[in-house]
């Protein structure tokens, strides 16, 4: 899997090289030294600014850890701001980062609108921007993360397999969205709806916002279970949040009876949760690999010397199903190590 990403990144690099001005005369005996010199000079001492939605969860922690390692390996510096789920603080942090003029900006958008104008402003200020997982309505140089539409579709197909026509189940599904206007929620919801449209026996009995909060997911699910004791499946748009839903199902004594699906990239925690049977299946993306891709793509952008708005590309993360006993152990990273 890792290889595919790297290949994709390499292909991307070629594309950039074609688009931007290559250093003159890269051929002949001296070309290797010149390429080295160009690559090193383009990256050395550069600053990568990174703005997650919050820290303290495995996903953003491992991203930050790996990005810092990868950036340092290339002679770059990573600065990070933690708004702690506050959109106000996030926006202020973004504005101040733009004011600080980093060489590359990496953002994790709380919703599709909030940062849009600021991202435009960043590009106008000459800062290339990479968006991770949660994309904005304003597209920038690169998006790195899953194709959420595909994630939704795959989750939907799995639900149909378990609860759809011919399964003998009720076909009732509860959906716990994240922040409603997050790119993650919007994309997964579209994919889910597209998948469910193909099987009329599926009934979405509840589709509510959990706002990435496990407590909220728990409360919603507990209520839904009382209204629909024959619920067939619960789908959550983030595994960390969906644990709350799973706990509610467990408390109701319906673990195993109600299937629990989620997308996520939480490493060890996801592995433990599928192993314990709390979550039936997690559709996972390799978070450390995403972090590497961010720095790689960023490195290419910096070397290309292209204008920040010269291109709009996406590097979709490869998706992996995880279920009890069946997953790639490489996905079980532990960010605390």
């Amino acid at each position: 899997m890792l290889k595919t990403t790297r290949c994709a990144a390499a292909a991307l690099a070629l594309a950039f090289a074609a688009a931007a001005d290559p250093p003159a005369g890269l051929s002949g005996a001296n070309s290797s030294a010149e390429l080295n010199a160009h690559a090193l000079a383009s990256l050395k001492g550069k600053t990568v600014a990174w703005l997650p939605v919050n820290m303290g969860v495995p996903l953003t922690e491992i991203w930050t850890k790996v990005m810092r390692e990868e950036a340092q390996a290339r002679g770059m510096k990573l600065v990070m701001r933690d708004p702690n789920f506050s959109t106000t603080a996030g926006l202020q942090a973004l504005s101040s980062l733009i004011g600080d003029k980093p060489d590359l900006l990496v953002v994790h958008n709380p919703n599709v609108q909030l940062y849009a104008k600021e991202l435009k402003r960043a590009e106008e200020a000459g800062i290339p921007v990479i968006q991770v997982n949660m994309v904005s309505n304003y597209k920038t140089a690169a998006y790195i993360g899953p194709d959420w539409n595909a994630v939704g579709r795959l989750l939907g197909q799995e639900v149909i397999r378990q609860c759809g026509s011919g399964s003998g189940k009720s076909g009732k599904v509860s959906v716990i969205q994240g922040e409603l206007t997050s790119g993650v929620s919007i994309g997964q919801m579209e994919g889910l709806n597209a998948a469910f449209a193909k099987d009329p026996s599926i009934r979405v009995v509840s589709s509510q916002a959990g706002n990435w909060d496990a407590n909220k997911a728990h409360d919603i699910t507990a209520t839904v279970l009382q209204q629909h004791p024959d619920l067939c499946a619960s789908v959550g748009f983030w595994s960390t949040m969906e644990i709350g839903a799973a706990q509610a199902i467990k408390s109701a004594g319906k673990l195993g009876q109600v299937k629990v699906y989620a997308s996520g990239g939480e490493g060890k925690v996801d592995c433990e949760n599928v192993d314990s049977g709390l979550i039936t299946k997690v559709l996972s993306y390799d978070a450390p690999d995403q972090a590497k891709a961010i720095i790689q793509v960023g490195s290419f952008i910096l070397q290309s010397g292209a204008r920040p708005d010269a291109f709009r590309v996406a590097n979709f993360s490869t998706l992996h199903w995880m279920e009890k006993g069946k997953y790639d152990p490489a996905l079980c990273y532990d960010w605390t190590l």
């Binding site: 959109t87 603080a89 004011g99 919703n111 599709v112 104008k117 922040e179 206007t181 919007i186």
Partner: protein, 718 residues
């Protein structure tokens, strides 16, 4: 007889450093500074500047125009919410729903604009109306139904938040994907006028107007009054219900205005929009010096607090503090602010009191002897012992007495009345006028109007029919003085020059009638001589910085003015006409007592009242400001060394300043604290600041027809 004594008490001995030290005092400056109303938010203001300076120093690119603009744009919306909160807190309540209203307005504005596809102006109107409607719900409940603001707005907060969540559930994705645009909408969200972000500009206008309305208009005062005491405000006739209701409506509209700009700027319907803003707003308001208990605060203070909170949070975010720590820091700041708010409100007045009194050196030579066998004109005698009593127990504190052409006797009293005694033995008592304040010195003008210095009010007049009118209650304000000294605090005594100009003394501008003795503890040149010209109705200060100017008397020739300085035990002459016009001379100094009113005598001399008699101990205390300061601070007032006012003494002196004789009531059995005497048709009438009577004694050698009015206004006429 005169030596180097100056009316302002300038020291005669010591080096220039000592003189300057005792003339100007840093404590004095500080105490007057603290007493200013605009000093209340001094700490927050300094904190704000310090924070900005600090982050400017440690953060790169902070102190740049571009960054300031960006910060201003981000700040403005919070500014609206803080003002919304502050208004309600000042009214004695609290509005916890501001954050929800903000989120609701954001959603409303986006809904009207993106889904309703309305033009911008109706969107603005609709959004503000939505905020006003929520405010009206709060206002009607709190104002008319008298529910508790805390619980009421808490419920509004929860209900409205639920409404926002429900609406978001249905519309937020649609809103987030909306693409309606308009130039005006973009201007609201990201435009600027003269380089100032649009939202900050509107905040500035709203804040400025709000500040003036709140601090300088009737509705604003009503609001503050209600916040101080709802009951008292009702008793004062303020429409408490409707004012409160409108306050909440205004609060709702302000929060909605914040939400509107937020919507235009970000088009974001994030679920945490406005969450927790009520706490931030409350922190900001309290931090800025808006008291949680109501009745104290201004819009400017709220904005100062808002800037502090904003700069602090923004600075911590910039410095890369983990998010949770930033919230903790804000909580700590709120705790600190509330603590300081309570302590400051409680102790500010005390702190001012502690440093308000600033004694200085008063150096008097040894007093002349008043012993019975001393042979001086001051020798004690019993000439006032057998005075006749007038109005015994019918008057309270006739500081000054005066008689009219019909031989009726007038005096002011402690309760703000002018009494008139008439009849052969003055047995008839009537209330001639009710002025209020503390009537002190009196004089008749050419038209027989009675002019009265009223402590706490100014210079007033009473027509012969008993109608009270105000002559003046303010003078020109002196430059470079912190205390606004234009209002008259303690007009003391007056006299009227031949040209009709009224000269009067204001004993002190630092103390009130009830604390005049503290001015004595201070011994500082806090008084002044003021002239009011009835012809032009103009008032101006003639001499500034006089040590407790008291009695004022126009000399017999009408060319000069005599005034007494109580703590300096001296009389000065101020030339108002003739070749020496404008000059000030020392006429008498080093008297054995504290000089009070001066009045003309029938033989071309002057009468002078001594309100107290000097003692070596008190003289020594006056030389030692440090001693007096310790005394005032460390022991209760009834144990202080004070001027001896348990004596009655009247002196007579001539035009050259020679004291001719004295009349005593030793021990002050009948006339303690003797402050005034008035000669009239062969009698001398005696008034006292604390006395329960007026006295009179026969003056056997005096002209039995002489009276003050004729001497002033009918000289040389029939």
């Amino acid at each position: 007889m005169s030596s180097g004594v100056r009316y302002n008490g300038a020291l005669m001995s010591g080096g220039i450093a000592r003189r300057l030290y005792h003339r100007w005092s840093l404590r004095l400056f500080l105490s007057e500074l603290l007493a200013k109303r605009w000093m209340e938010p001094a700490i927050p203001f300094v904190l704000m500047l310090a924070l900005i300076a600090y982050f400017g120093a440690v953060t790169p690119n902070y102190a740049t125009w571009g960054n300031a603009r960006q910060l201003g744009r981000e700040f403005a919306e919070m500014g609206f919410v803080v003002i919304a909160m502050a208004l309600v807190v000042i009214s004695g309540g609290i509005d916890l729903s501001v954050g929800s209203v903000f989120a609701f307005a954001n959603l409303t504005a986006l809904g009207l604009f993106q889904i309703g596809q309305l033009p911008v102006l109706p969107v603005i109107a609709g959004t503000l109306a939505a905020g006003a409607a929520v405010g009206a719900v709060n206002g009607v409940l709190v104002g008319y139904f008298k529910t508790r603001p805390f619980l009421t707005t808490l419920v509004t907060l929860i209900i409205l938040r639920a409404v926002v969540d429900l609406l978001s559930q249905h519309y937020s994705v649609q809103l987030a994907m909306g693409s309606n645009t308009s130039a005006l909408w973009d201007f609201l969200g990201g435009g600027a006028l003269l380089g100032i972000p649009s939202n900050l500009l509107v905040l500035g206008i709203v804040g400025g107007v709000g500040h003036v309305l709140l601090s300088r208009s009737r509705p604003g005062w009503h609001l503050t009054a209600i916040g101080s005491s709802r009951k008292a405000a009702r008793h004062a006739g303020i429409a408490v219900e409707s004012t409160l209701c409108l306050t909440y409506v205004a609060s709702g509209m302000l929060a909605a205005a914040g939400g509107l700009f937020y919507a235009a700027r970000l088009s974001s319907t994030g679920s945490d929009t406005g969450v927790g803003w009520e706490v931030n707003a409350l922190t900001a308001a309290v931090l800025g010096g808006v008291s949680l208990s109501g009745g104290r605060g201004t819009v400017a203070r709220a904005v100062i607090g808002a800037v502090i909170v904003f700069v602090l949070v923004n600075g911590l975010v910039r410095m890369g503090f983990p998010g949770a720590l930033t919230s903790t820091a804000l909580g700590a700041v709120l705790l600190f602010a509330v603590g300081v708010d309570v302590k400051w409100a409680k102790n500010r007045v005390k702190a001012i009191q502690k440093i308000y009194l600033n004694p200085t050196v008063v150096e008097l030579p040894p007093a002349p002897s008043t012993a019975r066998d001393s042979g001086t004109p001051f020798a004690e005698n019993d000439r006032l012992r057998d005075s006749e009593e007038i109005g015994l127990d019918q008057v309270e504190g006739p500081e000054d007495v005066i008689l009219d052409r019909q031989d009726r006797l007038y005096c002011g009293t402690r309760d703000g009345l002018i009494l008139r005694f008439s009849g052969p033995r003055f047995e008839q008592r009537e209330v001639f006028a009710r002025i209020g304040g503390r009537p002190l010195g009196m004089a008749f003008d050419r038209d027989e109007n009675l002019l009265v210095c009223v402590g706490g009010m100014g210079l007033y007049g009473v027509t012969p029919q008993g109608k009270v009118y105000k002559a003046t209650d303010e003078t020109n304000r002196s430059w470079f003085k912190l205390n606004d000294d234009s209002r008259l605090r303690l007009a003391d005594d007056l006299d009227i020059a031949p040209d009709g100009k009224i000269y009067f003394s204001e004993a002190t501008i630092r103390y009130e009638m009830h604390s005049w003795h503290l001015d004595g503890m201070e011994g500082r040149a806090n008084g002044r001589l003021i002239c009011y010209d009835p012809a032009t109705r103009r008032t101006r200060t003639v001499i500034k910085d006089i040590v407790f100017p008291n009695g004022v008397c126009v000399a017999h020739d009408g060319q000069s003015l005599l005034f007494a300085s109580t703590w300096l035990c001296s009389i000065f002459r101020y030339w108002i006409d003739g070749p020496k016009k404008g000059k000030i001379e020392t006429l008498i100094d080093n008297l054995p007592g504290y000089t009070d009113n001066i009045n003309r005598a029938s033989d071309g001399c002057y009468w002078l009242a001594l309100v107290g008699i000097r003692s070596p101990a008190f003289d020594l205390a006056m030389r030692n400001p440090g001693f007096r300061l310790r005394m005032v601070k460390q022991i209760p007032p009834d144990e202080w060394i004070l001027p001896g006012i348990n004596n009655g003494c009247v002196l007579k002196f001539n035009e050259k300043g020679e004291v001719l004789e004295s009349l005593w009531d030793p021990g002050g059995r009948k006339h303690a604290t003797l402050t005034s005497m008035r000669e009239h048709k062969g009698w001398l009438y005696l008034g006292g600041l604390e006395n329960n009577r007026i006295g009179r004694i026969r003056l056997p050698d005096a002209d039995p027809d002489w009276n003050g009015f004729d001497d002033y206004w009918r000289k040389g006429k029939a």
